[in-house]
Amino acid sequence: MEPAKMASPKSAPKDAQVMAQILKDMGITEYEPRVINQMLEFAYRYVTTILEDAKIYSSHAKKSSVDADDVRLAIQCRTDQSFTSPPPRDFLLDIARQKNQTPLPLIKPYSGPRLPPDRYCLTAPNYRLKSLQKKVSSSAGRITVPRLSVGAVSSRPSTPTLGTPSAQTVAVSTKVGTPVSLTGQRFTVQIPSSQAAVKSATPTTPTVQNVLINPSLIGPKNILITTNMVSSQNTANEANALKRKHEDDDDYDNL
């Protein structure tokens, strides 16, 4: 540490001189010049925090001005929070006595690396691999690829055709066109995620399941028959699965 270069009395502000004097009184002769700045900052921050707290307490007690009791209370509450000290000696002696009564545990021979149980170690992997399985069996879940439709207007959720899962399979079997070229209005429908939660591979299935609007499916009454592009529940038969895969491939190409 470099020896303190005492600023000439003319240039150092009074507070800095006070800090330097405190250090001198406590017998600290060598310190970096930044120490005084840090002490000043600490003092300022501490005092303003206490005074603000005191103001709050005094206004809570409906007093007209802040008095010494408020400040005392503020100091006490702050020190309980921020500045803690190690436990007192007799407390330590007490817990030491309890701890030292149990005999030392015997050491099991030939037990490999002697480490605590796994949950107290840091040896568990802190990552999990994402399963990117496109060629998936029917029971496997699927990664959902959220695609938000642009300029969507939320529709009334009471579209009758979208009630049940079975309806979805019906919808799937219809021709599903390309995901491009949406004409006319688009509707985004929110399908409750209870369907998705059952067999999902990843727990982060978005609740908004995006639907593709096939213009040809929009009937005269504006009832939408939509397909579920990204389904996390796949109870459909093989044909559907294949079709879905096909769709997904298209998706990825077009993305």
Binding site: P86, P113, L115
Partner: protein, 675 residues
């Protein structure tokens, strides 16, 4: 009236209050710095129960929380009842001063020991009873009379001017509640007692009875020099009964090996037990001492891990190296090889070297731990699981094949701590590394994979030092919370808690037989603890500053300690006496190490020097016997100059670590600092 009261003083606040709604606690400012301890903090606090954190602390330790009636802190401090008129305190004190100065020379030194504790207690009494101006003038008048080694404490005391200041200062509270111990010969004591009881105003006598413990011994009164050597700690000296317990300082028996004689040109390593054409030489240590050493602990006193094959190989290597060891002595001094850490910018805070001197580790203030290989062999980590599945497990050199050559390097950096790393320790089998840090944890790192395995959380405050046991498996740590803890690598909570110090535990070391632990503290005492039951078996006072270096002699009988006062003190563990004082260093001693056979003691210090001392001469012809043990001190010869064998200066590099290789080459380490 009996002087020595049996109880160690009124206990301070007890355990968690049952059902008390408000849980507020005590607090203190300040950052805990190594070497300063708690003493230099200004404090404010409340006087109500224990904080919530304390409850968590108790639960974290794993013990049940004892719930009992909780006396208030003010009950403790009210031990400061008004002892008479505050304005007369100065008169009482100067009256005593006059009496002592007029007493006989032989008694004066001993009775002068009274000045400091009386001064402090009287001052604190005035402050507590809120006689601020009297306290101030009392302080002004008499603080200059105190011994120079108390000046630091007096400076802190001068900042305590109000009653509120006293309530939160842990160290001051401990000072109040534990009686200050003075050791005075019977004659001097009779003199004092007669004088104090004669006078009309017995105030001083009351204070003496209340706050001091006078340990009377039969013998010659001590000289000033003798007293100065032994005083200095926060609680006075050690009572003689504190040092009476039997300590098994002998070494454990080493298992017998057949060490085949071999020359330089013999090929390969011989495993133990393989007979050769030449008659194998048995390990001499094991075979000669068939009888149990009475001072050695029984083999199974504490459970120790069994020797694995790799450990046995290591021991064989050790013995071979020992055969080639240089015999050191005053005529044959060791060569010193210094490892300088460059570009550390005052960030090097801990160093350790393996027993076979193959690796060196540095703990840094930027919270990294860096391991270097000292030999040409690089540091290799084990291959990943994918690669491991490809190797041939049946091949002879499978242990080589599992190591990854591609990432071999001389330096490995270990990240994980969130604060400066203040202590590091290699395990004896070189598989593990421990590091302890300001963040309150001790981390176990694997040196096979160079990753962190476990974080041991127990101290919630900075941990200043840690060390593996000489047999592995156990390790000790000591920190700011004033306790040292014994851990085993396979338990996430400590096995033993060594509580008793009045200030931070700054240095922790195992005895060579792993049954005892020495701790040095900022309260200027060194304590020896028994691993089996956690009892404190020895208290050594004499240093005038926080202790930063401890070293056991290889035969286990002696302990060397170094502190910020620049003195190295030597202690006989069996008798519990100070047997030597080595003066010479001018600054804090951070490293102490005995040579492999105990002939030379090396000390490294902040004054950029390494000094070598003649240990054989220091320990011969000691007057330690039952009589001196009963008195508690021996005459220390002034032989520092005779014992000093050499002083070696570095170029402005404080010496942080010392290590004797198996062949008695001295390695030293430090960080270059450009001032």
């Amino acid at each position: 009236a009996a002087v020595a009261s049996s109880s160690p003083g009124v206990a301070a606040v007890a355990a968690v209050p049952p059902g008390k709604g408000l849980v507020s606690g005590r607090a203190s400012h300040g950052v805990a710095l190594p070497g300063c301890g708690v003493v230099s903090c200004c404090v404010f606090a409340s006087s109500f129960g224990l904080s919530y954190k304390l409850l968590l602390y108790a639960l974290a330790v794993g013990g049940a929380v004892v719930v009992e009636d909780q006396p208030d802190v003010s009950a403790v401090l009210s031990a400061y009842n008004q002892q008479g008129d505050p304005t007369l305190y100065e008169e009482y004190y100067s009256g005593l001063k006059h009496f002592i100065e007029c007493s006989l020379d032989c008694h004066r030194a001993e009775l002068s020991q009274l000045f400091y504790p009386l001064f402090v207690h009287m001052y604190l009494e005035l402050v507590y009873n809120q006689h601020e101006s009297e306290a101030k003038s009392f302080f002004e008048r008499f603080h200059g009379d105190q011994e120079c080694y108390y000046q630091d404490d007096l400076r802190v005391l001068s900042s305590l001017t109000k009653k509120e200041h006293m309530k939160g200062n842990e160290t001051m509270l401990d000072f109040r509640t534990s009686k200050f111990v003075l050791r005075i010969s019977r004659d001097s004591y009779q003199l004092l007692k007669r004088h104090l009881q004669e006078k009309q105003n017995n105030q001083i006598w009351n204070i003496v009875q209340e706050h001091l413990y006078i340990d009377i011994f039969d013998g010659m009164p001590r000289s000033k020099q003798q007293i100065d050597a032994m005083v200095g700690s926060l609680a006075g000296e050690a009572k003689r009964e504190a040092n009476k317990a039997k300590v098994f300082f002998g070494l454990l028996k080493e298992p017998e090996f057949d060490v085949p004689l071999d020359d330089e040109d013999e090929e390969g390593e011989n495993e133990e037990g393989k007979p050769k054409k030449k008659k194998p030489k048995k390990d001499s240590v094991g075979s000669k001492n068939k009888k149990q050493d009475p001072n050695a602990p029984p083999q199974n006193r504490i459970p120790l891990p069994e020797l694995k094959d790799s450990d046995k190989l290591d021991k064989v290597m050790n013995m071979k190296e020992a055969a080639r060891r240089v015999r050191l002595g005053p005529e044959c001094l060791p060569s010193i090889c210094f490892y300088t850490f460059l570009n550390a910018y005052q960030g090097l805070t801990a160093v350790d070297i393996t027993d076979d001197s193959s690796m060196i580790v540095g703990g840094f203030a930027d919270s990294t731990v860096r391991v270097w290989s000292v030999t040409p062999k690089k540091l290799r980590s084990v291959k990943t699981a994918a690669d491991l599945s490809l190797i041939d497990k049946e091949s002879d050199d499978v242990l080589e094949r599992i190591m990854d050559e591609k990432t071999a390097s001389e330096l490995k950096i270990l990240y994980g701590h969130s604060g400066p790393v203040y202590g590091t320790s290699f395990s004896p089998d070189r598989n593990y590394l421990l590091s302890c840090s300001e963040d309150g944890t001790v981390r176990l790192w694997s040196l096979q994979t160079f990753t962190c395995l476990v974080g041991y959380k127990g101290h919630n405050y900075p941990v200043w030092d840690t060390q593996f046991s000489p047999y592995g498996y156990y390790f000790v740590s000591g920190g700011h919370d004033r306790v040292a803890r014994l851990w085993a690598t396979d338990h996430y909570q400590p096995l033993r808690i060594f509580a008793g110090h009045l200030a931070d535990v700054t240095c922790t070391r195992f005895h060579p037989n792993s049954n005892y632990i020495a701790t040095g503290s900022a309260d200027r005492t060194v304590r020896l603890w028994d691993v089996l039951n956690g009892n404190c078996v020895r208290i050594f006072t004499g240093h005038k500053g926080p202790i930063h270096a401890l070293a056991f002699s290889p035969n286990g009988r002696f302990l060397a300690t170094g502190a910020t006062d620049g003195r190295v003190l030597l202690w006989d563990i069996g008798h519990g006496l100070m047997v030597g004082e080595l003066k010479g260093h001018t600054d804090t001693i951070y490293a102490l190490r005995f040579s492999r056979d105990g002939e030379i003691l090396a000390s490294g210090s902040m004054d950029n020097t390494v000094r070598l001392w003649d240990a054989v001469k220091a320990f011969e012809d000691l007057e330690t016997d039952d009589f001196t043990t009963a008195t508690g001190h021996i005459n220390l010869p002034e032989n520092s100059q005779d014992l000093l064998l050499g002083t070696y200066m570095t170029k402005s590099t404080p010496v942080v670590h010392l290590h004797f290789t198996r062949r008695n080459l001295l390695l030293a380490a430090g960080a270059y600092s450009s001032q």
